[in-house]
């Protein structure tokens, strides 16, 4: 792991720009992916609410890419970052009514819940 601090560009989807001062892109200084995420959360605390679930894991339908790599494929968030790296938050493409939404009490992603 390197000790040098890198400048990383963060990119968020339009749904989240109300929580990032209206910015789709901003930069943070960090040594690792975890550090970059923490720096982004310190600057914009609502990102913690909307990117991570109660268990502290990335929400099921949120994708966080580090450059071209899905963060779920990283060995950990402790991997170092370099100047110019990008962390890109995307909304996973998903939809329809999964079977468990019927009677299972969980509304469907992209679908209409029954209430």
């Amino acid at each position: 792991m390197t000790d040098s601090v890198a400048q990383v560009t963060f990119s968020v989807p339009r749904m989240l720009v109300d929580f990032t001062g209206g910015q789709r892109r901003f930069t943070v200084d960090a040594q690792t992916v975890a550090g970059a995420l923490s720096a982004a959360e310190r600057a914009y605390p609502m990102l913690r609410v909307h990117l991570f679930n109660e268990s502290g894991n990335v929400r099921e339908h949120v994708q966080i890419f580090v450059n071209a790599t899905d963060s779920r494929e990283l060995p950990s968030f402790e991997v170092p970052v370099q100047d110019g790296d990008e962390i890109i938050v995307l909304q996973a493409i998903s939809g329809g009514l999964p079977p468990h939404s019927w009677g299972g009490g969980r509304a469907a992603a992209g679908g209409a819940d029954l209430n």
Partner: protein
């Protein structure tokens, strides 16, 4: 004086405004564009009324938004309702808000069903452990709409008493300011797969919406999954009151602000179909505290939508205004207690919530 309608939809929130004649309406929004807006509440206890919105997304989860300028600008609440990692629970939607007994106290109900409270005008929220640890908790099973705590009714006279309603679970009442909660579902049919009553427990009642008669606070009314019920003794006992209705099934129920025998319902055909009976959008009114129900309408034929549990609202002007939004995004209003109706301007996403605020 005028009326502001807060309209929560599946893809944002809209605000409609009119003067006290309520004939011409202007619309603004969407606010929280792309987000579902379930819970809506205007806290008019302060000089600067605050509007609270429960905003959620299947992708990004829920949070509370607060506005102190009539909905023009909003602030996301950072320390909003949340479950701990250890709870194993998931926060899905913010369904309901209510004012507490002190000026800065607020409550909100969420799915998965839980109650949160704030003692600082909604800036910080904490879980109400007494309900979370309720002895019946293991019997709470979600229905098709999820396990949602959708109804909060602070008692109109007793500050220590409050009612809450949870879908597929039922009614609870506290008489000690929230320290303890008692299920209040006696007389309400439990939900069972084959509709034969075998369950002898105190919950598993699919309460869809409940209202209190503010002039006679011991009187409660509920539209349930399995019928319409009323209680004359603060929820201790319930009885059916469905005479004249085309169906037992529906979601919303509302009370007239002054006439304590007048209630409004908008039934649906059945829990299988979930649409207006025979395609006729019809409001039903009772003028005798639920003894009988009569149509005011139909307002629209060939309409196969529905009205969801928070989609019906009544204002406090005289005569009272009645408003509702449909699951297909139409808004209707009456400024004369149901004698005449108009469709309000705009075609909206699926309407989840309508609140009428006298300004």
């Amino acid at each position: 004086m005028g009326v502001m309608l807060l309209v929560g939809t599946a893809k944002g929130m809209f605000i409609l405004e009119s003067d006290d004649r309520r004939g011409k309406w202007s619309s603004r929004g969407p606010y929280h564009k792309g987000w579902m807006v379930y819970g809506l509440f205007a806290d008019q206890r302060h000089n600067d009324p605050a509007i609270y919105a429960g905003v959620s997304s299947f992708v990004y989860g829920p949070h509370v938004q607060r506005s102190t300028d009539g909905g023009e600008t909003w602030t996301a609440i950072e320390n909003g309702p949340k479950f701990t990692k250890e709870s194993g629970r998931k926060l899905e939607h913010i369904w309901s808000f209510a004012a507490g007994p002190e000026p800065k106290r607020l409550y909100c109900g969420v799915s998965q069903a839980a109650l949160f409270e704030s003692r600082d005008d909604g800036l910080n929220w904490s879980l109400v452990e007494s309900l979370e640890n309720h002895p019946t908790r293991s019997q709470w099973v979600p229905g098709a709409g999820g396990l949602c705590l959708h109804t909060l009714i602070p008692d109109a006279k007793n500050p220590e008493r409050m009612y809450l309603g949870i879908s597929a679970v039922g009614c609870f009442r506290t008489d000690d300011g929230g320290k303890s909660w008692a299920p209040k579902n006696k007389g309400v049919q439990p939900v069972e797969a084959d509709q034969e009553v075998k369950y002898q427990g105190e919950v598993m009642r699919c309460l869809h919406k409940m209202v209190q008669d503010p002039g006679h606070p011991e009187r409660l009314y509920q539209q349930n999954h399995l019928g319409v019920f009323r209680s004359m003794d603060a929820g201790d006992n319930w009885e059916r009151c469905e005479n004249g209705l085309p169906s037992q099934f529906g979601f919303p129920i509302a009370m007239h602000p002054r006439d304590h025998k007048t209630l409004y319902l908008i039934p649906q055909e059945s829990d299988e179909a979930r649409m207006f009976p025979d395609g006729k959008l019809t409001v039903y009114r009772s003028l005798d505290a639920g003894d009988s129900w009569h149509t005011i309408g139909p307002l629209d034929a060939g309409n196969y939508a529905g009205v969801l549990r928070d989609g019906l609202a009544v204002d406090s002007l005289d005569p009272a205004g009645i408003y509702f939004g449909t699951s297909s995004g139409q808004l209707f209003g009456s400024a004369d207690e149901g004698k005449t109706w108009q469709q309000l301007p705009g075609q909206y996403p699926r309407i989840l919530n309508v609140k009428a605020v006298v300004t």
